[in-house]
Subunit: 250 residues, 2 copies
């Protein structure tokens, strides 16, 4: 993405009056920043000209026209509203949101929890297990978001909880699918070598794990996903670890 | 339940030193109270002797031994902890919670959202649709919980969001299944007449709808579920109504 933006800038075009809509998701490992920040930096425009469009929007379902909700997030609410009106149509409902940094972090973090849910699927567990992972995972996401100073509420909206649910429960999610193969006993490197598309959660798990250590945050689910992918821990042992932590209040 | 409790009381047994664990869920239509309150009233014991055990615990999955999380909720945290230690075992993880009234309300309300998700399934919609319903539905549940003065956080824990996810995504949920048949075009009365077990959300939809009108609360999902069940509104029109509300921020 950074390379493409550099080329766009080098073309000599003037972006200072543009509004940029981004649908890319992820966290750059080297800088730990997100697309929205990278766009502002590379194009040299104000962050309040960038609108992040995000939500539980599995592409094949959007194409089928099933009712779908998403959010247009921008520091400038007038621009969020312009994008909202531009993309809104029958069965595609868009909410406004004023926390683009939060929306992007939620979109990246949810992929790590989806890998955990995939592992549970691969081990033959059930909806009970995944629902517990979604609930506790959302709490880890919120805890982590506070490090960046983004809003708790963003994680509870369509671009947070909504996207998390879709990614954890849909059979079409790549990150969940990656986890499922881990749970069935394949090694991370084998799976990655055989995948045509990227499972972004694999890289995100690493950056989030490292940041959680640095900030002394308790992130048990992210930690176990990291260990299974990068330290070859057996998925069954990872689950055992999660289920045998000291009893406590919610 | 009230009848059984009356018989227990009439037997002459002394319950004043008992700790009662309840796993029943629902809202009594005539009094709008929950099992935990009815037990205290009928047995004449203090509410702080009653522990509500709740969570995303589909019975067949618990029987299979898949990792499951639940909560033991009691005003008295020592008693919550006793129950926690009593029921905790491998793959059955119990958290403590101090908001039994909130736990029971969440358990009842989630069934109405599950009916909405079932309707979406019956109409052939996707995970995008259900994830949006879960997210916006949780918000309605929280809004409604405030009328009763229960804690927002309870709705975000395993007995709130966790139970909501299981009930909305599991193929085994009775309330979701009831909604699915509605979505496929069957009439509510026909479905109810053919069901062996109760879909509690049907009654809960009515009491919550009435209370929301009384308190002037905006509860669009509950309202549409009520209209489909009790006013014969076409499920497709109900969805159209939800998707065409004025655009706004989250």
């Amino acid at each position: 993405m950074r390379d493409v933006l550099k080329k766009m800038k080098a073309s000599g075009a003037d972006y200072s009056h543009s509004v940029v809509v981004t649908v890319s998701k992820g966290i750059e490992l080297s800088s730990l920043t997100t697309p929205y920040e990278i766009i502002a930096e590379e194009l040299g425009i104000s962050k309040n000209r960038i609108v992040v469009l995000s939500g539980p929007t599995i592409a094949t379902e959007v194409a089928r026209g099933v009712p779908t909700a998403a959010a247009a997030a921008c520091l400038d609410q007038d621009r969020a509203e312009r994008v909202q009106r531009l993309f809104e149509k029958t069965n595609f409902r868009i909410y406004r949101n004023d926390d683009p940094a939060g929306v992007e972090r939620a979109a990246a973090l949810k992929n790590v929890i989806a890998i955990a849910c995939g592992i549970a699927d691969g081990l033959g567990f059930g909806t009970n297990t995944k629902s517990a992972l979604v609930t506790r995972g959302l709490r880890e996401m919120i805890r982590f978001g506070r490090v960046w100073g983004v809003k708790d509420e963003t994680f509870q909206g369509v671009t947070g909880l909504g996207d998390l649910c879709t990614t954890c429960f849909s059979s079409e999610s790549r990150n969940r699918g990656f986890g499922e193969r881990l749970g069935k006993g394949e090694k991370a490197e084998e799976i990655l070598a055989s995948m045509k598309m990227v499972a972004e959660g694999v890289v995100t798990a690493k950056s989030v794990y490292q940041l959680s250590k640095k900030h002394g945050l308790e992130m048990p689910i992210v930690t176990e996903v990291y260990r299974v992918i990068y330290e070859g821990k057996a998925p069954k042992d990872a689950v055992k670890e999660l289920m045998s932590r000291p009893l406590k209040s919610e």
